[in-house]
Structures are given as structure tokens and as C-alpha cells.
Subunit: 200 residues, 2 copies
């Protein structure tokens, strides 16, 4: 299918097709869009790629994305030092930041325990988490892991791991999303909502 395009165009379409969620049609459309842009615009795009790859690493403390040894959140003096929120991936951290609700620190596990995918506890940033818990100003660890088999397994594993340590351990609530209708909720969500019921 690629052979109809002139070679540099075929190569560009191929590169776009490698990206997650980009199929052959979108890749073609994006490549045609690119060659219609100015030289400067394309050079800026290319340098943004190189730049992000070169400069973005992980924070040595929380394993969020960072261009410096410690990330902006870990360096933020205005954060509450009593709370630590554990997430699976940086994207979860960004989602929580967008709520403007939580003002504590984070710890990014960089994955979830998944025997099916061959990911065990040692593949996650758990040892670093334990080291951080030696900080006595911490009073609560909040697990913000997804409501999935992997999220549940990892939460249970961490609960066992933290048992010897005297610290409050909580997990974010699962239930009906705000604005949704009971009749359209899947039964797993609904049973989680029942289990998590609270006194009014």
C-alpha cells in the first residue's frame, strides 16, 4: 500500500503509523498536512521531538516526568508534607493535578503488578516508596490506583507491605461517576458503589 507514495512521504507515513491510535488513513492525512506546513513549523516539530526525548527523564524521588533530578512537585515548598499519593503512571498524576483538589506529594509506581504481562512487584518503584515512608512527617498514603484486577492486586500488595509501618493507608473511592444514571452503570461499578456506601 505504501509503494504509491514517493519515498520520503512513504517513510513519514510509516513513522506516524507507529504512533498509538494512528491508523493508515490518519497517518496519510497527517503526513500530507506536514508537507503543507512551513519549513520553520516542521523544524520546530522535529526539534520538539528531539528535545523532549533528550531532556525528559524521571524524578529521582517520585518518578514523575522531570527535566531536573527532582521534579517541580517534589521541589514545591507549598505542598502538604503529610500526604503521599501513589499512582501507576505520570498520566494519572496529571489527571489528579487537574482536579486542584490534592496538594500533597506523589509517588509514581511506573506500572501495576500484572502476572499476565510478567510484571511483578520488583518491576515497580516499591522499594523507593518504602524508603520515602521513613519520612516521619507523612501521616497518610493514598492509593490512587485504577479499579482493575491489576490495580486491586497492587493495592493489596502495598497494603501488606505497609502493615508493619504505622501509617494511615487509604484508597480513592470507586462508584457511579457524577452525572451518570444507575440504569446505565455496569454491574461491577454498581456493586463497587454499594460496597463503598457511606453514612449520610
Amino acid at each position: 500500500m505504501m509503494s504509491y507514495y514517493t519515498q520520503p512521504l512513504a517513510r513519514l507515513i510509516e513513522e506516524f503509523q507507529k504512533l498509538p491510535g494512528v491508523g493508515p488513513k490518519s497517518a496519510q492525512r497527517i503526513a500530507f498536512h506536514i508537507i503543507r506546513q512551513s519549513n520553520t513549523a516542521v523544524e520546530q516539530f522535529a526539534s520538539a521531538l528531539i528535545d523532549a526525548k533528550e531532556k525528559v527523564n524521571f524524578c529521582e524521588q517520585c518518578f514523575n516526568h522531570s527535566t531536573t533530578p527532582l521534579c517541580e512537585i517534589c521541589l514545591d515548598k507549598d505542598r502538604q508534607t503529610s500526604q503521599l499519593c501513589v499512582v501507576a503512571e505520570p498520566k494519572d498524576l496529571y489527571a489528579l493535578e487537574r482536579t486542584h483538589e490534592y496538594r500533597g506529594f506523589y509517588h509514581v509506581l511506573q506500572g501495576l503488578i500484572s502476572p499476565l504481562e510478567g510484571i511483578g512487584p520488583d518491576d515497580l518503584k516499591l522499594r523507593a516508596l518504602l524508603r520515602r515512608l521513613e519520612d516521619t512527617t507523612l501521616t497518610e498514603v493514598i492509593l490512587a490506583l485504577p479499579p482493575s484486577v491489576e490495580g486491586d492486586t497492587t493495592s493489596l500488595y502495598i497494603a501488606r507491605l505497609l502493615k508493619p509501618i504505622e501509617i494511615k493507608l487509604t484508597r480513592i473511592a470507586f462508584g457511579l461517576p457524577v452525572g451518570s444514571e444507575l440504569e446505565y452503570a455496569d454491574s461491577v461499578t454498581l456493586s463497587r458503589a454499594m460496597q463503598g456506601r457511606q453514612a449520610v
Copy 2:
């Protein structure tokens, strides 16, 4: 929303968001994917961008994408010299090539007449088309323009333009797509199919 990301990541997400069909969520997902790739892979992607932008121009004869003054199709000695197929955009040419049905030459108009978008006949490669028709080996011009107001207007305009020239002018057929059901066809398609009915 961007401010939660470290700067080179924010910039990369912004670049991906500029692409057609890529929203904020996809842009984030793609950017995270990029920084997980090897240095070599990212450098190859960046160089594919620069390379395509630098090398891909338009064929001087048919206005298809080309890295050389004349494109591969125009230079192809095995093509039928009697037919010329007029399309709006290179992507239409690629779609026709994929059918392996047509073996003549092409002419890419690089647009369609659209008074609403301020695109008139002079914005299209029509003068170049007329010049190509001086070639006496040509016996048929096939209009492969879309069944839309713009496609119809442009087809009519070309029909008037070619009236003084003695050459067979045809337009590709419009009707029910193969495999579709009559009951689900929209009425415009169905009436086009009726108008285009042929003796069996």
C-alpha cells in the same frame, strides 16, 4: 491544562495537538509514547519529518507529490498514453492506484472550485490541464472528482472548458457502494444511482 507537564513535554504535546484528528488526550498519549522510545527511533522520526518536508514537491506535469521534476507515474513508460484522469488531491490519486484498475496518467487539480471558501478556477491547475490536452495521443479525460457541490461545480466547469476540444470527457459513476443495502442508502446517493442506471 498544559502547565502540569515539564516544559519539553508540554511543547511536544502541543506539537502533536496541531496535527489533524489529534485531540489533547491522544497528543498526551503519543508524547508519552515518544519519550519511551529509543534515541535512535526518535531521531529517525525527526529526520523523516525534515526529509519529507525538504524533498517532497509537486510533479511539474501532473502536480502529484514528487521528489523529482516529473513524478514516477508521469515517467512510467508502461502507462497508457490515451487516458488522463483528473483528481482533486494526491490522496484521490493514491486511492485510484490502489484499485489497480486504471493504467493511464493523472492530473491533480490541487483543489475544487468552492465559492464559499474563495477558491476559484484560477486557484486550480486548470491551465496546465489545457496545455496537456494539446497532446494528440490523448483520447479520453476521466473526471474522478467527488460527488459533492464542489466536485459537481468543478466537473461542469471543466466540461465547459473542454467543449471546444474534441475529446471524450467522462466522469466516474456514483451510486450504491458495493455490499451496501438499498434501505440504508441516503436518498441523494439513491437518486444518483437511479440517474446513473445502465442497460443490463
